[in-house]
Amino acid sequence: MPVVALAPQESRILQGVRIRPRRQFSGRARGERTSARKGVSIEFADYREYADGDDLRHLDWNILARLGHPVVKTYQDEEDLAVHLLVDTSPSMEFGEPTKLLIACRVGLALTYVALCGGDTIYGHALGGRGAPRPATRGRIGVQRVADWLGRLASTEGDSLLEASRRFARSGAQPGVVVFLSDGLDPLVSRAVQVVADRGHEVWFVQVLTEMELDPDLEGDLLLVDSESSLEQEMTANSVAIASYRKALISHNEEIGEACARVGGRYAQVQVGKPLSAFLTGSLRKEGWVE
């Protein structure tokens, strides 16, 4: 079982930042993130007329004394943010050295670290697998537990990305940021993004690809076998075929990015073999995924 962990320098990059969604979500637990709802906290929000039943502790006695009119102070509520990690565990994630699944888990751990340190809640889901989702994890102490969970993930043959996304959407998960950690090598991946976004989630898509997938070095007459569907396709790998594949891959990736942009989400690509810090300092920090 591979150990999913962050290098010290990667942890340093992630210190002092927290998840920055494009919009606000209602939390289920008190957290460190201001809510759209008024609540009890030290963050002043506004004044309003006193009404029967209002907590007298929030009455502004100074105004009442000067004006003779009761006014109460209202405060911003502070809630947590639900961050759902949807880790693709389909067989195609087993490609690469190290595997795409491991890289996806490390990206997930990095986001977990940011979220839990920022007082947010992490939910773990293994896409494609039949197992139950990981329960909510809060607090810094939960980082290791999530790491352990990520380390136990293994690729299994199961539902397609779209079916797994639908099941997630139907599960009634708390709206929040949904992070797809997948290679996205599914022709219906854009539909999966849309399905999740329709449930009120903000979709972040982190696509993990190997160098072999980005720049295949194949030649000769081949019988290609799909690792997930086991479909076979005869193909002669020559310059024309390689160029055609590259063009199709670029188009497919752009389609994923556009699908994310349509629903107000984010898209980033991580290449197996490249340092994870590039993603952390690039997409995560410079592109404003975290603040």
Binding site: F95, V225, D226, S227, L231, M235, T236, N238
Partner: protein
């Protein structure tokens, strides 16, 4: 396109079959598990096959390889293409430049058409083709030798000319055979109307003989005869016409006496028919001219004839014997000579027959002399009862000759002349030795009422005819046997060198028809005139001593301009070529195409692999 080896096409079956079988074999593909296949194109450009079997699918490689196989098989089949022009790789072109080639039944005339055909051949010849051009005139000559230089060939072609005379096609063909007869695949191409006697003694060797007929029609009427005789009614002029065409003809004939028209007649001639007319003419007329003004057909050179009515203007010679080419050629060098041939002496010419002789000189060559009525007799080789010698035996190979100062041997050198055998003789009567030898008299002459010259050997039993002195000796003999009284007019044959007695040495100007002009040098009292190639009146010299040479064509062979579809060449019948085209090898372009196909196939293979 024609295939020399069409059987080679059968190779296409196993070749194409092998290629197709290779494409029918199923590819054993390398199995490769990939994350997803939907991004990969379904391309099946198989370049190798190593298992059995699959459905045949279209492939550019397959198409190119089949094309390459087809090109290989085509090359093996040795394709040929029809091309204009008749020339082969090594070709000697013989162009008939005789009088009949002047027939205008084709534009501009047969000679012009033949010249254009040669120009086309030069134009169509490949750089490796070698052509030679031979002018088959009265004296055949090589216009340009075997070469691959089209510029020089075109320049030489412009110098080729036509003659209003009979041509020596046989000699021209022999000349062509000496050029290409030893070359495998050589071609002798004869461009002619076929209006010549069957050619004997011609062997083409390894060369192929091709006859391209020029001309299309036969309509022609010729002045076949024009002569005068003294009769009881006075001087009579006879004029004969012949229609050589296949259709009846109607012509207008005009007779001129010393340039003045004295008669004009419309004559109707059947196909192949003759027509004649006799006129009483003044005795003092010097030159008669018969001219067909209208309806003369396609050949003009035989539409006019001249008859000179001056003493000494005509020397009628009868050559008796089995045939002696050298003597015959030497005799006709004299412009006065009108030569007839006979294998034996006609009874009308025998001594004792009634009437005067029709000949001024009788020449016995290779046959025994017979007593005849002629006042001059030249006996070459075999003496008779009337000869100025008595035969005493035979001799062989005389070692030395002793000439005299007699005019008969003036200018003739006998040093080195080889005589195989001859008659050992001694002079009798008025006979005098002109040339003696260690084996006895060689030449004996006698003067008197009859003049005789006797040689003790026949020309063909020696190499004397091959020496320069032989025609001089014959000319001297004719001068001796029929002393010259050359007038101002002389009837001659065109395209023959004429030797005239000329009193002064120097340059003599010659003017002729159609602006002809030339100069000749007279030496030793003789003037050799050359270049009188066309019929017409030529004026030699100026002033009082000027002579008029009247060149007219009288040749049935030339007047019969009907183009022959088959000619006899060396005992073989050669049919005319139906079409002026030839098959030329066509494998080089296909080979280049094959290389191009293989280059594309190689490029495509590299791109697909």
């Amino acid at each position: 396109m024609n295939l020399q080896s069409p059987g080679a096409l059968l190779w296409l079956i196993p070749l194409a079959g092998t290629i197709l079988a290779l494409y029918l074999m199923k590819m054993r593909r390398r199995r490769l598990v990939v994350p997803a296949v939907f991004l990969w194109p379904e391309r099946q450009d198989e370049v190798r096959a190593n298992a059995l079997f699959q459905r045949l699918r279209f492939s550019w490689l397959l198409l190119l390889q089949l094309l390459a196989a087809l090109a290989i098989v085509l090359v093996l089949a040795r394709p040929q293409l029809l091309q204009r022009g008749l020339a082969g790789k090594v070709t000697a072109i013989v162009v008939d430049t005789s009088s009949s080639m002047g027939a205008s039944d084709v534009v501009p005339n047969r000679f012009g058409a033949a010249r254009k055909a040669v120009a086309d051949m030069i134009e169509a010849a490949a750089p490796s083709d070698r052509l030679a051009l031979i002018e088959a005139g009265p004296t055949p000559r090589v216009v340009f030798p075997l070469s691959s230089d089209p510029v020089a060939q075109r320049r030489g072609l412009e110098q080729m000319k036509r003659y209003d005379a009979e041509s020596d096609v046989g000699e021209a063909l022999r000349l062509a055979s000496s050029l290409v007869g030893t070359t495998q695949g050589g071609t002798i191409l004869l461009l002619s109307d076929g209006a010549f006697e069957p050619i004997q003694d011609f062997v083409p060797g390894k060369a192929k003989v091709v006859f391209m007929q020029v001309g299309s029609k036969s309509e022609n009427v010729a002045v076949q005869a024009l002569g005068s005789s003294e009769g009881p009614q006075g001087k009579l002029l006879y004029c004969g016409l012949k229609n050589f065409g296949s259709q009846p003809a109607r012509v207008r004939l005009t007779i001129l006496a010393d340039g003045r028209a004295m008669d004009s007649t419309d004559a109707a001639l059947d196909a192949q028919g003759t027509w004649g007319k006799t006129l009483r003419v003044p005795r003092e007329t010097k030159v008669f001219e018969a001219r067909i003004e209208q309806g003369g057909g396609f050949l003009q050179s035989d539409d006019v004839a001249y008859h000179v009515n001056e003493p000494g203007a005509v020397l009628r010679v009868l050559l008796v014997g089995p045939g002696d080419f050298f003597t015959e050629r030497a005799l006709v060098l004299d412009p006065r000579v009108t030569l007839d041939r006979a294998t034996s002496l006609p009874t009308s010419e025998a001594l004792g027959a009634g009437g005067p002789s029709n000949y001024d000189v009788v020449v016995f060559s290779g046959t025994a002399e017979k007593p005849c009525k002629a006042k001059g007799v030249l006996t070459l080789g075999r003496a008779g009862d009337s000869s100025p010698v008595k035969v005493t035996g035979k001799y062989a190979k005389p070692a030395s000759f002793v000439p005299t100062h007699d005019d008969l041997v003036r200018g003739v050198r006998f040093d080195g002349v080889y005589v195989d055998t001859g008659e050992r003789v001694r002079p009798v009567g008025s006979g005098r030795i002109v040339l003696d030898s260690d084996k006895g008299p060689i030449i004996v002459a006698s003067s008197g009422a009859r003049r005789q010259v006797y040689t003790s050997f026949a020309p063909l039993e020696s190499d004397f005819p091959l020496s320069v002195g032989f025609p001089i000796f014959i000319a001297n003999a004719l001068d001796f046997l029929a002393p010259r009284a050359l007038g101002a007019n002389l009837a001659v044959s065109p395209a023959r060198s004429q030797v005239l007695p000329w009193p002064t040495d120097g340059t003599v100007v010659i003017a002729g028809p159609a602006g002809f002009s030339a100069q000749a040098e007279s030496r030793d009292g003789r003037l050799t005139v050359k270049g009188l190639d066309r019929v017409g009146v030529y004026t030699v010299g100026r002033g009082k001593g000027a002579k008029r040479l009247l060149a007219g064509l009288r040749s049935d062979a030339e007047s019969n301009i009907a183009p022959r579809s088959v000619v006899q060449l060396g005992g073989e019948q050669v049919a005319r070529l139906a079409s002026p085209v030839r098959f030329a090898d066509f494998w080089r372009p296909i080979l280049l195409l094959l290389l191009a196909i293989l280059a594309v196939e190689w490029w495509l293979y590299g791109r697909l692999s």
